[in-house]
């Protein structure tokens, strides 16, 4: 069965930890992780609640495959109502934390209420306890990790925590685990901070032994690993170049937004690309990229581990940044780099370290900073607001200085922590926020790549590439190439990707496997591990059910079809140059069809028939 069938309920108001049986009826419909935790959230939390109030809950959830030997099966998600968007939020992370939670015997932890003083949760197998966290409040995520490891004297303890950015109220703060893996988006770290919960430290030594069909499990997971190894993307491309290989691709096809999406195409892209990361630096002869690293159980190992040039201005007096750490991934490199016009690889790597050290989402941050830069250029924001920083596109110095303010929420850092929507509203230029439902865009321009625009507009957690990564097909030809500037067939593509992703997330697997795996590779692994019938069809239906459930949560929270929209800039300002010159996103051509194939009304609401079909 491979669920532990047990969840831990932590009442932060009362300071209690209680073990509770997992609702297996729900597990059979929603599998685990994203799906199952969203079900719990939907059942237990008023969708209209204040995301940062005591009535919101925060769930850390694993999938049934998490902690097994299936490739990439180490993932967990943080599920809550997000403060950046007000929508349901689910942020997925790798590293080792999720598997450890499972080894301790828990499928998920539900945090409810709010502690009146800083606390952290320590889980050692069956034993769970809230402890006074006043000594770690105010510490970075890295310091917190070190302190808790020293306290429990166990190098194998795994820690998920928030940094100072969350404490300072930044609305896109992340939960950092294992020092450089993040449940990054939608401000799930901010919710954790609002509950006065600083960290969760887990040590599990019970293991997972209850695989439903062991022979079928090893057969299907071994076969899956062979497919990953033989696939050019997952077997060679990702381990060698990581996600950053996309920088030149997306720039090359006219899909790389720059300068707050005012432009498409960034001349400095190649300086911050995977190819540049692998190049020896002139200063010390070493490349930015030190090695590739895997998350728990992952046989792909796409993670970048990098170092900053010790003599670079950003770190030269800061030896704590002279070692290796989690390096640039594509989305971060785009948001921190192309969108702000900064092509200084060392500066980006340093700021990326800060994203991990203090826990904030580089996508939302980079985009927010880019919006601020555009307003600075327009004279709406001045050095009076920024505390003297010349917030110009392309200035690495300004970029580094602004980030250091954001970390602790000092001065202009407080404004930057609002996210682009609130920042742009504050300075009277709401149209300059490149966001959907309040969450900033990732690294693909919806004008140059049409389908991803529809996905952004309909993504349940606000703009997000990871809800339905149609770029795989539209640009990368996976599984088949579709024309990036066409809208035909895109609603179908978006729906298929969204539903499949929801299922993959809910299993505890990494979405990157789908560059090589189809549902016919994935379903047998789930089916072997779990009781119940997890055929391809049932898996896809569960994915669709999860998507619709998230939609219903948002609907109840007050979202309507009017929120399925893109900023005017992307619908009206045509791309000025390059291979996609003249393009705007044609959302209007795609959205009605999308609603239709989803079985939603023209107002974007799942019909009674659809809800019934999906048992919702």
């Amino acid at each position: 069965m491979s669920w532990t069938r047990k969840l831990l309920r932590v009442d932060l108001s009362k300071g209690t930890c209680t073990s509770e049986a997992l609702n297996m009826d729900w597990a059979k419909d929603y599998l685990g992780q994203r799906g199952l935790a969203s079900k719990y959230l939907s059942e237990e939390v008023d969708p209209k609640c204040d995301p940062l109030g005591a009535e919101n809950k925060l769930i850390m959830a694993t999938g049934p495959l998490t902690g097994t030997m299936a490739s990439t099966a180490g993932r967990y998600s943080v599920i809550t109502k997000g403060p950046l968007t007000g929508a349901i939020a689910c942020s997925n992370s790798g590293g080792y934390f999720g598997a450890e939670l499972k080894f301790a015997g828990w499928d998920m932890v539900i945090f409810e209420g709010k502690s009146d003083k800083p606390v952290y949760l320590v889980i050692q197998n069956d034993k769970a306890e809230l402890c006074d966290g006043s000594h770690i409040w105010g510490k970075s995520a890295w310091e917190t990790d070190d302190i808790l490891h020293a306290t429990y004297q166990d190098p194998q303890m795994r820690i998920a925590c928030i940094g100072r950015t969350a404490e300072a109220g930044c609305l896109y703060a992340a939960v950092i685990n294992d020092k450089h893996r993040a449940a990054g988006r939608s401000g799930v770290g901010t919710v954790m901070a609002s509950k006065n919960l600083k960290a969760v430290a887990v040590r599990g030594t019970q293991g997972i032994g209850n695989i439903d069909n062991v022979d079928a499990f090893f057969e299907s997971t071994d076969a899956g690993k062979a497919v990953l190894a033989e696939n050019a993307v997952t077997g060679q491309g990702l381990p060698a170049f990581g996600t950053q290989v996309l920088m030149n691709v997306i720039n090359g096809v006219g899909g790389l937004p720059a300068h707050n999406m005012r432009d498409v195409g960034f001349a400095g892209a190649e300086n911050i690309s995977a190819e540049a990361m692998a190049e020896p630096r002139t200063s010390d002869g070493k490349p930015n990229l030190t090695t590739n690293g895997a998350c728990f159980g992952c046989t792909i190992a796409c993670g970048r581990i990098s170092t900053v040039d010790k003599t670079h201005f950003s770190v030269k007096d800061k030896p704590q940044y002279h070692g290796a750490s989690g390096g640039l991934e594509y989305e971060a490199a785009w948001a921190l780099g192309a969108d702000t016009g900064v092509d200084d690889l060392d500066a980006l790597t340093y700021v990326n370290f800060l994203c991990n050290e203090d826990g904030f989402d580089p996508i939302s941050y980079g985009s927010t900073l880019a919006a601020a830069m555009e307003m600075f250029e327009d004279g709406v924001i001045t050095t009076k607001d920024t505390g003297g920083i010349e917030l110009k596109f392309g200035s690495a110095e300004a970029f580094v200085a602004a980030t250091e303010l954001l970390v602790t929420g000092e001065g202009f850092g407080k404004d930057l922590g609002l996210g682009s929507k609130r920042l742009c509203e504050k300075y009277g230029r709401p149209e300059l926020s490149m966001s959907v439902k309040g969450q900033e865009f990732p690294a693909y321009d919806p004008r140059g790549i049409q389908g991803i625009g529809l996905n952004y507009a309909t993504s349940n957690r606000g703009a997000c590439h990871l809800r339905g990564y149609t770029v795989a097909s539209e640009v990368l030809g996976i599984p088949v190439k579709t024309e990036q500037t066409d809208t035909d067939g895109k609603p179908e593509l978006v729906k298929a990707f969204q539903d499949a992703t929801a299922l993959v997330d809910s299993a505890g697997l990494c979405i990157f496997t789908t560059f090589a795996w189809g549902m016919d590779n994935i379903a047998p692994q789930i089916d072997a591990a779990c009781e119940g019938d997890w055929s391809v069809d049932n898996c896809l239906e569960a994915g669709e059910r999860i998507w619709n459930m998230e939609r219903l949560f948002n609907q109840a929270a007050g979202f309507t079809a009017d929120d399925d929209k893109l900023p005017k800039r992307l619908l009206e300002e045509a791309i000025k140059s390059g291979p996609t010159e003249g393009q705007v996103n044609r959302l209007g051509e795609m959205l009605p069809k999308y609603y239709e194939i989803r079985g939603w009304s023209p107002e974007g609401e799942p019909t009674a028939e659809t809800r019934q079909r999906l048992s919702l």
């Binding site: 902690g67 097994t68 030997m69 490739s71 080792y96 598997a99 080894f103 194998q156 020092k179 040590r203 599990g204 030594t205 019970q206 293991g207 997972i208 032994g209 690993k225 190894a229 381990p239 030190t290 090695t291 590739n292 690293g293 895997a294 998350c295 728990f296 159980g297 992952c298 046989t299 190992a301 993670g303 581990i305 990098s306 170092t307 070692g323 290796a324 750490s325």
Partner: protein
């Protein structure tokens, strides 16, 4: 030809498939905390180093065992613990200068790498060939022994 585990830390990505395979082989569960091979993460250096018993000639553990519970598997050269003889006194855990014999509180016995009887599951599970099971005269083995011997505490020098 006797074989030995050859470990190349440069190829390790830290995925822990080896730990899961080892623990599954020996306990029937995916449980890295009970794996006999451990991957150490060197965050600062950006390195991962799998580490387990080298089945060293000196057999410090075997010599220290007060009840003859550790013997050499003649087929593989592995120093193997006989569970029915081990009383759990832990003397071998402090005698092994490589730190690769550990006490298991759940079983009350000590545990160490036994080369899975000649089919080491860690090597089979490793996706990057960071762990391979190769002929003992392979140069990698020498390299591994050399690195081990750099630190090999020697109670005596044989003339």
């Amino acid at each position: 030809m006797q074989k030995s585990l050859n470990i190349d830390p440069g190829k390790c990505t830290g995925c822990l498939q080896c730990e899961m395979a080892c623990s599954y082989e020996h306990t029937g569960t995916f449980n890295p905390s009970r794996s006999y091979i451990k991957v150490f993460t060197f965050h600062h250096e950006g390195r991962f180093a799998p580490y387990t018993c080298t089945q060293c000639e000196e057999a410090w553990c075997q010599r220290a065992c007060p009840v003859d519970a550790i013997s050499v598997d003649m087929a593989t050269g592995a120093k193997v613990i006989a569970d029915d003889k081990c009383v759990g006194c832990k003397v071998c855990t402090i005698a092994c200068p490589f730190g690769t014999v550990n006490y298991s509180q759940s079983t009350g016995k000590v545990v160490k790498c036994d080369l899975c009887g000649g089919d080491p599951q860690c090597a089979s599970a490793c996706p990057t060939d960071a762990i391979t099971y190769v002929d003992a005269d392979w140069t990698g083995y020498d390299k591994m022994m050399a690195s081990a011997s750099k630190s090999l505490p020697s109670a005596e020098v044989t003339a």
